[in-house]
């Protein structure tokens, strides 16, 4: 099987997505988790965009719409997570999970 450059680009995007997914689980700081989740979503959106090449004489609109919806919903969820982080930081004076666990509870 011939390996095309597009295949390599898609493979790298998947590796980026998996790395970000790993960080979502393992990062101890909430903002790092949020950023990792955002990188994961961006890499999935880019994966969609990688299949938006010319199709039947036009750019295929479906991957572009899917990428837009993923990015738009991700920014909405990003806002929700940041508001959650605000609440945590006001209660625990930190966004680090280990500090929160070792610190005082309410």
């Amino acid at each position: 099987m011939a390996i095309h450059s597009l295949f390599i680009v898609r493979g790298l995007l998947i590796l980026l997505a998996l790395t970000a997914f790993y960080s979502i689980w393992t990062a101890s700081h909430l903002l790092k988790k949020v950023m990792a989740w955002l990188v994961f979503q961006i890499s999935i959106a880019l994966l969609w965009l990688s299949s938006a090449y010319v199709y039947h004489g036009h750019l295929n609109p479906l991957p572009q719409v899917a990428a837009f919806l993923i990015l738009a919903s991700s920014t909405g969820i990003l806002g929700i997570m940041l508001v959650f982080c605000l609440g945590v930081s006001r209660r625990h004076d930190s966004l680090d999970i280990e500090k929160i666990n070792h610190g005082v509870s309410l």
């Binding site: 095309h4 493979g11 998947i14 998996l18 994966l47 039947h56 609109p61 909405g76 806002g79 508001v83």
Partner: protein, 188 residues
């Protein structure tokens, strides 16, 4: 106030174990999707419906740009789901502003109410279309009421309402996030 339990090694191991179970599964799923995607220049119609959108999009929807035709007309139902994220974001920001008694100026609350109003209008119009027509935002139903141009205008109004909802939600959330900084991180 009391001290919480200290660092738990089994819990740490369990969380790492879970991620190493899920990660290969997710990787396999993504690589399976990768092999299903057509390579460059391939005429294999992976997205069957795309050819219909490209062939009839302009005639049916009135949009010359296929992405807008799909986003605002054919797949307008997705926009309603999208607006739900912004509603939740706005409501959470209102809630934390009230609970934490954040010093937010009354004028700033206009952004929150505008976001809620525009999203409510979007949901109400969609609900009416769903009750009377066959889709959530049934543009053919609106075209029957207001003439053939109602379809494209309806789609434009949908996009406008979503844009207003998103913009106002972001401005409102930003104002909540930046207010009351002096009370954070141990600075009473």
């Amino acid at each position: 106030m009391k001290q919480t339990e200290s660092f738990s090694f089994p819990r740490f191991l369990f969380s790492r174990l879970i991620v190493w179970i899920i990660l290969p599964l997710l990787g396999a799923l993504l690589f399976y999707g990768l092999t299903a995607l057509p390579s460059e220049g391939d005429e294999n119609p992976t997205f069957h419906v795309a050819s219909r959108y490209l062939d009839r999009g302009t005639a049916e929807t009135g949009f010359s740009f296929p992405v807008l035709a799909v986003l605002l007309d054919y797949r307008s139902f997705d926009l309603v789901f999208l607006s739900l994220f912004f509603i939740v974001m706005t409501l959470m920001a209102i809630l934390i502003g009230v609970v934490e008694n954040l010093p937010i100026r009354p004028f700033s609350q206009v952004w929150a109410w505008t976001a809620l109003l525009s999203s409510s209008l979007l949901l109400a119009a969609g609900w009416l279309g769903l009750r009377t027509g066959s889709n959530f935002m049934d543009y053919e139903f609106w075209a029957g009421l207001f003439g053939p141009t109602a379809r494209v205008h309806g789609a434009e109004i949908t996009g406008f309402l979503l844009l207003v909802t998103a913009a106002c939600s972001f401005i409102w959330t930003y104002q909540v996030l930046t207010s009351g900084k002096e009370k954070r991180f141990g600075h009473p």
